[in-house]
Symmetry: C2
């Protein structure tokens, strides 16, 4: 069975055929056009997503300007944890910056799966711990790295983003103005 | 039974007496002197902590200077998720900024508890989701708020820190130099 989500879970913990089929059957997969807003600031998040194809951007609107905080691409989960788990309004947006094919989950689906297969509780915990760790690392980079270091890290860890994402959004993600990103790129290419 | 960790877990999910006793019995509680370093950059984290009393600070060393990222006080978990779960070297420090009374857990203890009481798997997942959500909010604040807004938020949500933590560490946590923190404080008190 060729299914990215099943594959992702099996890499965390071996699954029986029955479990693989249960995930695949319970999955709701949907296409979203580029530009679709999946979650708005002020709304309570009721869905989680897993990216099969495409790219979802997380951003804030600060003084009328978009500030990009994250890009979620193939095999990443898109979850607004505080809003989804505690049912409080989200403070950010999720928007599709490409045409996307996403798996959609909600609280009821999650509970059903845990009840049928308690192993998913373990898998789910391990996924959240993994993602939490990555978020801690991102926060660390934001605090301790210079914009140039963040640019170089991104180039190394997620080179695909440079083909997929407009410069001004990459600049915002790195935490600089577009002009500064151009300067950083020039500086780096002169060094190489 | 008066036990902060048992109390914390029961607020997430009701526990039987047997389960409460199991947690209490499996708990290792230890005193640490102010100044103790619990985790060093470059080391692999093998322990998680729950703060019964005291305050643990998370910090990075950047160009020889400490940059504070978090303070963990009573009823908070102290975990370096990426290092602990994936066994990679930590990129930060955990240090006791007060005398601390901490519950210590490790991977084996965690596994034993899950095996005896599968319910802890659920509780553990919910704890991690809650903490992840809080971390996402902290990251959002770091990206979208001005230092003055962060100062005011901190004053509102964690007023105790202002009594417990030296000014220069608070300044670092808010993301400014100590002089700027003084200026922010003056500005705010003039407004009030």
């Amino acid at each position: 069975m060729d299914n990215k989500l099943v594959g992702y879970f099996s890499r965390i913990m071996p699954l029986s055929d029955e479990e693989k089929i249960a995930i695949a059957e319970s999955m709701v997969v949907k296409n979203y056009k580029k530009g679709t807003v999946l979650l708005e600031e002020g709304k309570i998040s009721t869905e989680c997503y897993f990216v099969m194809e495409g790219c979802v951007r997380q951003y804030y609107i600060v003084d009328g300007e978009e500030v990009t905080n994250n890009f979620f691409t193939e095999e990443q989960f898109v979850v607004s944890h505080l809003s989804f788990s505690q049912k409080i309004p989200a403070n950010h947006y999720f928007g599709c910056c490409e045409d996307c094919l996403l798996v959609i989950a909600n609280e009821q689906k999650e509970k059903d799966l845990y009840q049928r297969f308690p192993k998913f509780e373990t898998i789910s915990r391990m996924v959240v711990v993994k993602e939490f760790g990555e978020q801690q690392a991102a926060m660390a980079s934001y605090i301790t790295d210079t914009p140039e270091q963040r640019y170089l890290k991104l180039l190394k860890t997620r080179p695909d983003l440079f083909q997929r994402i407009p410069q001004y959004q990459l600049a915002s993600y790195i935490g600089v103005k577009p002009e500064s990103l151009s300067r950083i790129r020039k500086r780096i290419y002169h060094k190489v």
